[in-house]
Amino acid sequence: MKYSVFSLLKNAFSAHQNWAPAWRDAAPKPAYDVIIVGGGGHGLATAYYLAKEFGVKNIAVLEKGWLGSGNIGRNTTIIRSNYLLPGNNPFYELSMKLWEGLEQDFNFNAMVSQRGVLNLCHTDAQRDAFARRGNGMRIDGVDAELLDVHAVREMYPFFDYENPRFPIKGGLLQRRGGTVRHDAVAWGYARGADLRGVDIIQHCEVTGIDVVSGKVVGVQTSRGPIKCKKLGLATAGNSSETAAMAGLKLPIESHVLQAFVSEGLKPFIDGVVTFGAGHFYVSQSDKGGLVFGGDIDGYNSYARRGNLPMVEHVVEAGVAMIPSLARVRVLRSWGGIMDMSMDGSPIIDKTSVHGLYLNAGWCYGGFKATPASGFCFAHLMAKDEPKDEAAAYRMDRFERGYMIDEKGQGATPNLH
């Protein structure tokens, strides 16, 4: 049933008894043409675009938990395309463009909200780095503005402008950046894919990958073996685990990233803001909670929870940036498992195993990438060749020495 004001009114009269499920709770069939492992944003988007854009039939998405239980269901929802390096720039801009038409496309309101992303700078060197980044965006036709301190003050008068240690010197603003209701992205793609015949199979954990003479023929799952012609891994934090099932070793470490939400407050922080002198970024959700986070805890982890030191650092930075936050209360903290790649950029590529495709290494950045990642991964899986915007995300770039290292931290994933 198409979602609209009218369908809402209609159902109100029948006391909402007649709503159909947003997606079928499908049971696994013995075989599919394409299986996507991972019912997160990327996996679901991939299935959606495979069906919608590339006419692939007979697709299944296998999710070990409930739909969206991974990082798509626990991220801080920031979307932006303010990237530095040529390898990243066009990809994230493609993603931004897809976001801008997404809701009409899959008939689900994911509350794409372009309230602006502002990165504060506190030193001349930082400003120069932002200038480089901003010009890189402009050159590619992406919106970017370099604000001075007065312009920042206009937007956020309650920041700490008096601190001589870390003076706010200005910031890089992307007005088209913003937030999206994260869960709704998973639900919208799931519903859209389901309507196009994709089987979305929850509580079905892939435990093995069947490879015969170098070619993928199927998977073993907690709900029995399933055959397939092509297999796509979109398992984010678990990428090393799933890739290992096919004997692959990845340039990836799994780390825990914490996020937080405050009690609900009347909106006073309109856009997304990141602090430049410590790890803190914040936006305000549609329920009024301040959704904020910082950096990963710094140790390899598959536990979706962190520890107090990072909690403290993040909150210290928050109060340093906005002194009045001291009276606000933190409601809840949680963690997610990040697939941290060795250069901080993702991998969307074929693998040495025929028919096995990999989508991984998203670090903190994969939510904003969801539509483009799904589109490009679908393109790769359907046509066996990369879409231009994702052409740089090759697995062999490390061995060949063509890293895409936005942070310049090198092969140290816990620094990306």
Binding site: E241, L308, P309
Partner: protein, 94 residues
């Protein structure tokens, strides 16, 4: 998370900086046919879910590098030894 430094005793995680899997050994050869080993050493990781030996620097204490045996699934810490002892131990196994 608490780690018992062999030199300092039990300290909380904020005193340590982690540096990933300690299992891979730095290749000793520097000729072109060892390039593959070097790439593996620098870039590829088992990234296990479960027990793992990892480098940890007691940067907020004695500034010694340790190898901590920790479960990446539960954050349970089993042991911490001086990196030198770990390396010697690994050498013995070989």
């Amino acid at each position: 998370m608490l780690i018992t430094c062999p030199h300092c005793g039990t300290r909380p995680v904020e005193e340590f900086i982690f540096n990933g899997d300690a299992a891979p050994s730095r290749p000793r050869k520097v000729d072109s046919d060892s390039a593959g080993q070097w790439f593996e050493y620098v870039y590829l990781r088992d990234n296990p879910k479960g027990w793992m030996d990892e480098y940890a620097h007691h940067s907020g204490g004695c500034r010694q590098w340790l190898v901590v045996t920790r479960n990446t699934g539960t954050h349970e810490v089993k042991a911490a030894v001086a990196v030198g002892d770990y390396v010697r131990g690994k050498a013995k196994l070989k």
